[in-house]
């Protein structure tokens, strides 16, 4: 009961999508649309589960006065303030996600700067990592280094400025960078994409047929 019903649900939903692809007519296409909307709804609940779990974990840390519990208080408070303003539509009539609402004010002045700064911070770590890793020790490493060099320089104005005096346009850094992106890079990306897709297709089949059951967990 604990394992058979989930396996049955997985098989039925998976098969419906495959049938709907080959027979795109009622009732299969209607069931497919319905299942896709259900998927979105359940995925939303999964996000809520993640958020609730974050609160439980941090609430527990505060309750036990574990190391760094003060930061857990900040996590809980910042969540409650922003979620409270959004959920109860404080200062907004329709949706809190519309422009000009207090929720969006927090989005633009707290969430957005934090997100972009965290990702911008990675620029420094990527630079220091490349300083250590970028040594042309063998042919493969030299290829990686050269491709990265051309793409980085070819994507900024100074790259074109450095080579603008060359009469042959195909020797300009931006042209070389675009060529690398369009051909050797795309060729390898395609090989990787096809390889990944074949892996996903076989895993999907294993899931639908009930061969792969690790997602059910123990007992």
């Amino acid at each position: 009961m604990r394992r058979e019903i989930p396996l049955f649900i997985t098989a039925i939903t998976g098969v419906v999508f495959i049938i709907a692809y080959f027979i795109p007519h009622p009732p299969f296409n209607q069931i497919q649309d319905l299942f896709q909307t259900w998927f979105q709804i359940i995925a939303a609940f999964a996000i809520i589960l993640g958020v609730l779990n974050l609160m439980v974990v941090n609430g527990d840390k505060v309750y036990r006065r574990s190391k760094g519990w003060g930061y857990s208080v900040i996590i809980i408070l910042s969540f409650l303030v922003m979620a409270g303003i959004g959920t109860f539509k404080l200062g907004s009539k329709a949706s809190p996600l519309e422009e000009g609402t207090p929720f969006m004010y927090l989005f633009y002045n707290v969430y957005y700067p934090l997100t972009s700064t965290v990702f911008a911070l990675l620029a420094f770590f990527v630079a220091s990592a490349s300083f250590r890793a970028f040594r042309a020790r063998n042919k493969e490493a030299a290829l990686l280094l050269t491709a990265a060099f051309f793409v980085m320089l070819g994507r900024v104005p100074i790259g074109d400025y450095l080579t603008s005096w060359i009469p042959l346009k195909w020797l300009h850094l931006s042209t070389i960078a675009n060529w690398i992106m369009a051909y050797p890079n795309m060729a390898a990306q395609r090989a990787i994409m096809i390889g990944i897709a074949l892996g996903i297709i076989s895993t999907s089949l294993r899931l639908i047929l009930g061969i792969e059951r690790s997602y059910l967990g123990g007992d």
Partner: protein, 199 residues
């Protein structure tokens, strides 16, 4: 200098995250904790008003009762927080897995296999097109582990790894430039919007 309180908050949080470049410090940890809290809150509210309200509550109000099944499965997902009845969440997980598997089977077969093969099969009238065919075939050979990479297969796999290294280098360069552009954006915000030094 800006007189907008929102810009000041954003500037302090930006500096808080950047302070990690010196070392891990309380100013960074506070900014990081706020980031975690507001991120969770943003997605919580986003899911309520963009998914649950229109797709679940909206359809139920129209009398389409079969959407209640998704609501029930969604609530069952939350049972994971209660260990005694946590196993019930498997039904919702199974639905997600089944939908994902069915959808991925079709989507990946269409877009990542068929379309990519079609895109590769171009006339061999330029160095680029020849390179494309050679790169895709040798790249795939590199990922074929059912036979030992020896002889002709080994040679082809070697060429495949060259293409893959060029691709990794290009992706690395592309990622670095994207991160640098984000950093320039934050610096522009600090020096222009906040301090008013750039015009």
């Amino acid at each position: 200098m800006s007189t907008d309180i929102g810009v000041w908050i954003a500037a302090f949080l930006t500096l808080g995250i950047l302070s990690f470049l010196y070392k891990d410090n309380p100013f960074y940890k506070v900014s990081e904790s706020i980031f975690i809290g507001v991120s969770a809150a943003y997605w919580f509210v986003y899911m309520i008003y963009n998914v649950i309200e229109p797709n679940l509550l909206g359809n139920l109000q129209k009398g389409e009762w079969w959407y209640a099944v998704a609501g029930i499965l969604g609530v069952m997902m939350l049972f994971r927080l209660i260990p005694k009845i946590g196993w019930l969440s498997r039904w919702a997980v199974a639905f997600m897995i089944g939908t994902g598997a069915g959808l991925n089977f079709i989507v990946y077969l269409q877009s990542n296999v068929m379309k990519q093969i079609r895109g590769t099969l171009a006339p061999l009238n330029s160095i680029g097109n020849i390179m494309m065919i050679v790169g895709v075939i040798t790249g795939l050979i590199y990922f074929f582990f059912s036979a030992e990479h020896k002889g002709l297969l080994g040679g082809a796999a070697k060429v495949g790894i060259w293409f893959i290294m060029v691709s990794f280098g290009a992706s690395f360069g592309y990622t670095v430039m994207a991160r640098i552009s984000l950093l320039i954006g934050r610096m522009h915000f600090l020096f222009s919007d906040w301090l008013g030094l750039l015009h």
